[in-house]
Symmetry: C2
Subunit: 592 residues, 2 copies
Amino acid sequence: MIYIGILNLYLYLYLYESVSVCLNTSEASKNRINRVIPMKSGSLPPPTPTPTPTDPMATPLLTDLYQFTMAYSYWKAGKHLHHSVFDLYFRKNPFRGEYTVFAGLEECIRFIANFKLNEDEIAFLRSAMPTCQDGFFHYLSQIDCSDVEVYAIPEGSIVFPKVPLMRIEGPVAVIQLLETPFLSLVNYASLVTTNAARHRLVAGQSKTLLEFGLRRAQGPDGGISASRYCYMGGFDATSNVAAGRLFGIPIRGTHSHAFVSSFMGLDEIVGKTLQSLDGSSQCNDFVSLVESWLEKIQGLKSSIGLYGETNKSELAAFTSYALAFPNNFLALVDTYDVMRSGVPNFCAVALALSDLGYRASGIRLDSGDLAYLSIQSRKFFVAVEREFGVVGFEKMTITASNDLNEETIDALNKQGHEVDAFGIGTYLVTCYAQPALGCVFKLVEINGQPRIKLSEDVTKVSIPCKKRCYRLYGKEGYPLLDIMTGENEPAPKVGERILCRHPFNESKRAYVVPQHVEELLKCYWAGNSSKEREELPPIKSIRSRCIEQLDHMRPDHMRRLNPTPYKVSVSAKLYDFIHFLWLSEAPVGELQ
Amino acid sequence: MIYIGILNLYLYLYLYESVSVCLNTSEASKNRINRVIPMKSGSLPPPTPTPTPTDPMATPLLTDLYQFTMAYSYWKAGKHLHHSVFDLYFRKNPFRGEYTVFAGLEECIRFIANFKLNEDEIAFLRSAMPTCQDGFFHYLSQIDCSDVEVYAIPEGSIVFPKVPLMRIEGPVAVIQLLETPFLSLVNYASLVTTNAARHRLVAGQSKTLLEFGLRRAQGPDGGISASRYCYMGGFDATSNVAAGRLFGIPIRGTHSHAFVSSFMGLDEIVGKTLQSLDGSSQCNDFVSLVESWLEKIQGLKSSIGLYGETNKSELAAFTSYALAFPNNFLALVDTYDVMRSGVPNFCAVALALSDLGYRASGIRLDSGDLAYLSIQSRKFFVAVEREFGVVGFEKMTITASNDLNEETIDALNKQGHEVDAFGIGTYLVTCYAQPALGCVFKLVEINGQPRIKLSEDVTKVSIPCKKRCYRLYGKEGYPLLDIMTGENEPAPKVGERILCRHPFNESKRAYVVPQHVEELLKCYWAGNSSKEREELPPIKSIRSRCIEQLDHMRPDHMRRLNPTPYKVSVSAKLYDFIHFLWLSEAPVGELQ
C-alpha cells in the first residue's frame, strides 16, 4: 500500500506540473486562429446548422447495446457527467502498407450535430432494458452533444497507427454512445479512401480511374460511401448516379453486355438519320454508312490481319448507341469476340461518326488478356488511322475493367499495355485485400485522471492521457515522424532538438530537430463552448489535400512491397508516465 | 448465309416446340396455389402496400449511370418496351465452399414496389445527360414496375452457381434500371448470410452466436444489413440496437474496457444498497459484501492457485455494473489481467449477488489465449462452487470475442475449450475471407428470342432462354442436383428417369430418377397482372428455412475442407440449344 501511495504522489506531481505548463501552450494555440472560422462569436450571424448524416440510417440507435447498458450504469453510479477523454485511433496500417488516409470526419460531425433520441427510440430502449429506472430514460431524452468537443486531424490527411485521428471529450455517458457510430463512420471511410489512394499510386497520375463498384459493395450505403471516398482518395469519377448527385462527383457510364446482346440485327434500327456535328448536313442512312465502313475494314490487308464476319447484333447495338450518343460513343467490345468482332465493329461505327464530324470516345475491354487485347486494339486503331487518314484515330481511349486491383494493374504495368483508363469495382469498394480497418475508441482520461487499457498483447495497450499530437518535418520537406505529448507539455519548436521515444520499446529513441512543426488535432466541434472550430471543407478540397499529402511523403514509406514504417513516437515525459501508469494498474502475480 | 438460315429454322423449330409443351406445365403450376397468397383476386380486400426499402438510400438513382444511358438508347431506338428476361445468378460459391444462402429478396421486392423517379431525380438526370431528348425524361417520369414480374427462389434457401436466384421480366429499359440496385441488395445479403451459416456450422448448434460487427462494417447500412442477415443465417442475437429495432432481432450487450477503466476505486460508488431478488431484504452495503467475498477468494488455497491484489478500478466497475444490472451481470474480465484480476473480481461480485438471490450471467474474454483462459476460468468457477457450496456456479457462461472467425473457432474446437458463446464481429460482417459475391444480371431473352453472352472464359458464358429450375431429391431425402430446362419443357416427374447434362462439359451427364421434385422459382412480384404471388415471410421463418435447408444437405457438400461440388445441370434440350446459339453468335476466325 505504501508503494501505491508513492505512485499516487508521482501522479499528483505529474498532473500538477502539467497545469503549470498549460499557460505556454495556450499562446501557441492562438496562431491557429487565422485558419479557422469563428462559429460562435457575439457579433457574427448564427452558424448554419450542420446537415444531418448522409445516410439516414446513422441514428443514435446505430450503436451497440452495451453503450446504453453502460450509460445506465454510469447514470446509476452518479458518474454519467464525469468529464471523459477518448481517443479514436487504429493500430496497424491496412493492405500491408505503411500509411492510411483518414476519412469520415464530416459524417461524424454531422452525426453529433444532430444527435438527439426521439420518443420512439426512447420507447424502444425502454422495452429493451425493462429493469432500468424511469429517470434514466428521462436523462436519455434530454441529452445532446452540446457538452461534447471533438478534435481531429483534417479529413484527407495521411495518418499513422496509434496517433489519435480524433479526440472526443465530454460527459462519459454521452461519449460512450458515440463510440460505435463514430467507428462505423470512420473505419470503412478511411479504409476505402486508403485503398483508392493505393490504386492511384500504382496506376500513375496520367491514367483515368473510374469507380464501378456499386453492385458489389456491402449494402447501399457501402456503395455510396465507396463512391464518395474513392473520389476523395484520388479517383476521377464513379458509375454511381446517387453518389454523383449527393456529392457532386463526376459520373460515367455507357452500356453493358446485355445492351449488346439485346439486339438481333441492323434491321431493328428504325431511326437511321443523324445530323452532322456542326448541323450543316444530315445523314439519312447512318446504318448503311456504318456497313460501308465495315466492308472497307474487312477489305484491309494490313498488319492487323484478316477480318471476316463480325457479330451483327453487336454492330446493331453499337450503331444504335452511336445514334443516341454521337458525342460520347464508347463501346463495350467483348460481348462476342474482341478482335474478331468488337473492335472492327467499333471502328466501323467510329469512322461513320467521323464522316459526320463526331469523334468517338473509345472502347471498353471487360474480359480476357487486357495487356494483349489493349495492345492489339491500339495497333488496329493505328492501322485504321494510317489506312483511312482519320487524324487522331490511334488516340482512341481504351478502358479496361475486369476484376482489377492493385496487383493486376501493377502486373499490367510490368507487361506493358495500352490502357488509358481503369474501371475498378469489387476489389476497390469491398477492400478485398483487407476488408476492415481496426479503428478503436479508448478512454484515456476521466475527471482529469489518465487511464490505460492493458493487454497481453503489447500492441493493444492504449496510450493514456489527453494528448497533443505533432508532425515534425525535416530539411527535405518530408514528414520525419509524429510525436504525442501530454496535453500541457510545451510544443516542439522549429530548430530545437527534441527526444522522441517509441511508446513501448525502451531502446528505440531519436533526437529530432524539426524544420517545421504541424499540430495535428484541430477543433471540429466545440459544443456550446466559445472555442473556434474548423469549417468542414468541400469534398474537392479534401481530395486535393489527400493527393498533395500523398505526394509529399518520403517514397520509401509509400512503396507497395516492404515499405519503411513511418515513426510514431511519444515525448520522454509521456513515455515515463505511460510506464508508470502501466505498473500501477497491472496486478503483481504471486508465485509459490 | 445459308448456314445462318438453317440456324434460324432450327431456332424457329425450337421455339415452336416449346409453345406446344406449354399446356402441360400450366397444369402443374396450379399445384402451387395452396402455398401462395392470392393478392389480386376480385373478392379479396386490396393488398397491403409493400413497405419501402429498409435503407432510404436505396432509391432509383442508386444505380450505374450506364443503366440510364442504355435506357435512353433503347428509347431512342424504339426498343424500350421490348419484353426482356434477365437472370440474376452467381458463378462461384464463396469462402471455398460448395453452397450459398440466398438473401436480399424482400428488399428487392420493396424496391420495385416503390420504384418511381421523382422530379428532383429527373432534374438531376437531365443535367447529367444534357444531350438527351425531352421525351425521354417524360418517359422516365412515367415508369414504375407495374409491367415487371419477378420470380425467385425463396429467401433463405440454399442455392448454387449458375441457377437463377431471380428471373426478372418486363420492358427492357425498366429492367436494366433494376440491375444495379438488385445486385447491390442481393450480393452482400447472400454473402453475409452464407458467412453466418458457415460460422454456425463450425460452432455447432449448442453454442450461442452473437454478432458484434457494427463498428467494423462497411458503412451504416453494411452494419444493419449484417445484423439482419447474420440472424437469418443462424445467429442468435446482435449488439446492434437499430437492427434489433428494425427487424425484431434479440439484442445483447454489457460493457467495454472503457467502462472498466473509467473507475478508479470502490470509494467512487455512492449508492451501495441492493434489494434481494425476492424483495424480502436489502443489503445496505453491497460494496463491503463484495470486498468480504474477495478476501475469502484470496484466502482460497485450492487447485486454482494463489491470488494476490486484484485491480481495484476493475472491482469498482464490476460492482457498479452489478448494482445497475443485478439480474444480468456479465463482466468483461481482460482489461488488466484475466486470471489475476478479472476472474477473481468477477467471482467476488457474483458471490455477493448470489447472497441476495441473484444468479450472475458470466464473463467475456476479449484477448489472449481463449482456449486456455476459458479452461482456467471454468476451473476457477468449479473451485468456487466446491469451496463455497454455490450450486450451479460452475455453469457460468463464458463468452469469447476476440477477432474470431471460422478458422479460429475450428482451432478452438480442436484444442478443447470451455466457451459457451462466441461474439463475432469483423470477420463475420465484412466477410473477410471473401468480401464480395459476384452475382450478375444477364439478359437471356428479348421479345421471345433467346440471347447468350459469350466470353473467352467459359465460366462467364451465360445460359440463354427463359428457364424453369428444379431441385431433384434422391431416396435418402437429400437434394441430388438442380436442373434448368427451357420454360416450356415438361417438368421432371417423380420416378421418371431424366438426363441431366453439365451445361458446358459435353461428357458430364447423368440419368436421375427423382423421388421428389421441387420447382425453385416462384412469383414474388406480378406487376399489374393477375398472377398469384408469394407472400414475403417474416425474418424468423426465413431463418428457420435456412437452418432447416442447411440441415438437410448431404454432409460432404457442407464440409469446410474440400467439399464435394453439388451438381447443377441442364436438360438435354437446353444443352443442345445453348451450344447451337453459341455457334451462331461466335464469329468464325479467318486464318491465312
